[in-house]
């Protein structure tokens, strides 16, 4: 086969181009630290990379939700704890002052204390977290409990039965009871209406008729005891919720590094490998150039005199 000058120059040009292109690709990998710099570098890997990224975003989001949920629960727990103590104190007062030997003025002093307890419980029931009333069901913009009429001690519940739902996983939710009446005002479902009991206690303490008052007072002791239990029970219910959130968070925490690893494996360039490849490409490039110089130069012309 004849070999002509254009053949040789064309061939060298093609080889040099090819090698230069490969070197460029490797350099790009090293500079960006990524193996996949455009979808066509590895289309299947690209799809997986995007999937991993989406998943990591979701996991971060779920983690946030869980953190906020846990904080809200802990907060709720604290509030209920204080309510429990207050209700207990009220019951103690009822125990102490139920006797017929207690004077009217003593009872009046006690009544003032119970009124103060009433207001504190109401304040606690109207707690806000992240600017929302947590015991108002879905009516999070309105204070759930108020005295109506304001002068008296009849309580009015302005909230509803809504609960607080949190997304903690794919199509997975955790719901918290936010219906204040279930906690403090539950005469409908056979529970204890704490506010009413406190009101009755106040009435009893303020009753000018000491004997009738004693009966009233005594009538509140057991309910107040049960009311405290009710609150504590609601507190206890929070336990499993926290546990569920913890477990879910744990799950995401173990899952996340695995996804991050998988993403890194698909996406990141192995710098050492890339540099080694680049070096060997440089060597072959130089060889091609050297060969070109040696072959293209000599010709018969040089030797003809």
């Amino acid at each position: 086969m004849r070999v002509t000058n254009q053949m040789m120059t064309n061939n060298f040009r093609l080889h040099i181009n090819r090698q230069a292109t490969e070197m460029l690709t490797q350099q790009q990998r090293i500079a960006s630290q990524k193996r996949v710099n455009k979808p066509s570098d590895d289309p299947d890997a690209m799809a997986r990379i995007l999937e991993h990224r989406s998943r990591l975003e979701r996991i971060d989001q779920y983690d946030q939700h869980i953190e906020r949920g846990k904080t809200r629960i802990e907060f709720t727990e604290q509030v209920l704890g204080q309510v429990s103590d207050l209700v207990n104190r009220a019951r103690q007062i009822a125990e102490e002052k139920k006797g017929s030997n207690v004077s009217a003025s003593e009872r009046q002093t006690a009544a003032e204390e119970v009124k103060s307890i009433y207001d504190q419980v109401m304040q606690l029931a109207n707690t806000r977290y992240e600017n929302n009333y947590i015991f108002a069901g879905h009516q999070t913009d309105t204070a759930p409990f108020e005295r109506n009429p304001p002068a008296g001690y009849d309580i009015q519940y302005n909230g509803d039965m809504g609960d607080y739902r949190m997304i903690v996983g794919e199509n997975t939710e955790v719901a918290l009871d936010a219906d204040g009446s279930l906690y403090f005002h539950d005469s409908v479902n056979g529970g204890i209406d704490i506010f009413n009991e406190l009101r009755d206690l106040i009435d009893g303490l303020e009753n000018p008729n000491l004997a009738a008052g004693s009966t009233q007072i005594e009538a509140t002791i057991d309910p107040l005891f049960d009311g405290r239990e009710q609150v504590n029970l609601k507190r206890a219910e929070l336990g499993p919720k926290i546990y569920q959130l913890d477990v879910t968070q744990q799950h995401w925490n173990t899952f996340k590094p695995k996804i991050e690893d998988a993403l890194a494996k698909e996406e990141n360039a192995d710098i050492t490998e890339a540099i080694l490849i680049l070096q060997s490409l440089e060597i072959s490039y130089e060889s091609t150039l050297a060969t070109a110089a040696r072959i293209l130069e000599p010709g018969l012309l040089k030797f003809l005199q």
């Binding site: 002509t4 053949m7 066509s40 995007l50 913009d141 607080y164």
Partner: protein
């Protein structure tokens, strides 16, 4: 005496012959780097012998013709492969442009935009009465809509660029076919049997090769030396001295179609072009990129539908219901509804009127659309659909790259074969130069010898 005369004639003829050979060699040397040049050779044969007293006597050599060293089958093969190369190159370049529009590797593309929007719905679900959350949600949703529109518009821009390339290719094709027809006439006029109009043929071959790169052709040289060229299922582009022009017209999709005209009118040949750059461009524009646009449209429409249905069933902070969240007819004009942008309290996070403001049921429902198998006949999520679109683009580019590289290799092989037959090797020509110069010297010596013999003879008479 006749012998001596003959000797002088032989010597003189030889001198001229070697000189001619050197001229041909010189032409080859000068054209060593001319693209498409076919080397020439002086075909030498022995002259007709003369009848002498003792039988036929040789009468030296003479030139038969200047040969063009050429394999006509290789030309056809080169054109075929060049068409393939043009096609994949054009397709690859267009698809790479399309690939750039999906800015996914940097993380600023659709994948990221979707994630951020879903996150915003999630955040809203945690605090359905929040104003900040609503503002962020609207912002992220606008960003997603912007990304859709930008990607769609960029793809349209690539299609428009292709249109410009198609127009310019059609113009070039017409120029080339005119040139080839012109050369057909010149070649017929110039040639005599056995003497090729080599330079014209070279130019015609080059023009045909360039033409094949743009649009696949079938060429046929008749016995007179004229080349007939046809394309796209037998439409004649060049016949003898006539060329038939291609033209373009705008089609229903607002892009250019390629038309071929003859006496009966103009025919749309766009779908019948099988190779060449035109094919690469048209396929990229009408099949591949149009397909990407279609998928973007599907995504945008389904997203709008799903979100709007869910949103319409929910209640905003302002107690309103039945509102659309997105407005638009597809990826080209999707945006967050003006009413929502104007007043973010209209974002419907609550499931029921009574549930406002703490009810986050609707926000949860919309956030969960992320996992809904809403795409591809209820078998893929939005994220899946985006990812598969990007992957498809990557695969298409990859495929075009691989075919292009293959074609480059094939072209290299075929061109080398042509070169080995028709190309000029300087070393070879140098050898020829030495060869013919030596023969020239020898012929000169012959004449000198004949002259000396004549002198001797004349000296006898004196």
């Amino acid at each position: 005496m006749p012998q001596l005369n003959a000797l002088l004639n032989i010597g003189a003829n030889s001198l001229l012959l070697q000189q001619k050979s050197i001229t041909v060699t010189g032409n080859n040397i000068a054209n060593v780097n001319t693209p498409g040049y076919t080397r020439q050779r002086l075909a030498i044969e022995t002259a007709t012998p003369v009848q002498g007293l003792d039988g036929p006597v040789g009468y030296g050599a003479r030139a038969r013709n200047v040969e063009r060293v050429y394999d006509k089958f290789i030309g056809v093969q080169i054109n075929h492969e060049n068409a393939g190369l043009g096609r994949w190159e054009a397709q690859k370049n267009s698809l790479e442009r399309a690939e750039f529009t999906f800015n996914e590797t940097e993380g600023y593309g659709l994948n990221q935009a979707f994630s951020q929007m879903w996150n915003a719905w999630n955040d809203l679900s945690l605090k359905p009465s929040g104003m900040t959350e609503r503002v962020v949600l609207v912002t992220q949703s606008q960003f997603l809509a912007d990304t859709f529109r930008t990607n769609y518009q960029d793809l349209k821009n690539v299609q428009d660029e292709i249109d410009a390339a198609v127009q310019s290719a059609v113009d070039e094709i017409n120029r080339l076919t005119t040139e080839i027809a012109d050369l057909n006439v010149k070649i017929i006029a110039r040639e005599t049997p056995g003497n090729d109009a080599s330079a014209y043929r070279d130019r015609r071959e080059l023009a045909t090769k360039e033409l094949a790169n743009l649009i696949e052709i079938n060429s046929f040289e008749d016995s007179e030396g004229r080349v007939m060229i046809s394309s796209a299922n037998g439409r004649v582009l060049v016949q003898a001295g006539d060329s038939f022009d291609l033209s373009t017209q705008i089609n229903a999709q607002n892009h250019l179609d390629v038309y071929w005209s003859d006496s009966t009118g103009a025919t749309n040949i766009s779908t019948q072009i099988n190779s060449g750059k035109l094919k690469g461009w048209l396929e990229a524009r009408d099949t591949d990129i149009e397909g990407y646009k279609q998928q973007l449209d599907d995504l945008a429409l389904t997203l709008m539908q799903e979100v709007n249905i869910a949103h319409g069933g929910g209640f905003g902070l302002d107690d309103s219901t039945g509102r659309d969240f997105f407005s638009g007819s597809g990826a080209a004009d999707i945006k967050v509804h003006d009413d929502i942008v104007a007043d973010v309290t209209r974002v419907a996070a609550a499931d029921s009127l009574a549930g406002v403001p703490g009810d986050n049921g609707n926000a949860i429902e919309i956030a969960n659309l992320q996992h809904k198998l809403a795409m591809s006949g209820n078998s893929a999520t939005f994220d899946d659909s985006v990812n598969s679109l990007i992957s498809t683009v990557g695969h298409d580019v990859r495929r075009a790259e691989i075919y292009q590289r293959q074609q480059i290799s094939t072209m290299e092989y075929v061109e080398n074969y042509r070169e080995s037959i028709s190309g000029v090797s300087l070393d070879e020509e140098m050898i020829n130069l030495v060869k013919y110069q030596t023969a020239y010297d020898a012929a000169a010596k012959l004449i000198t010898t004949a002259g000396e013999m004549l002198d001797t003879l004349l000296g006898l008479v004196r």
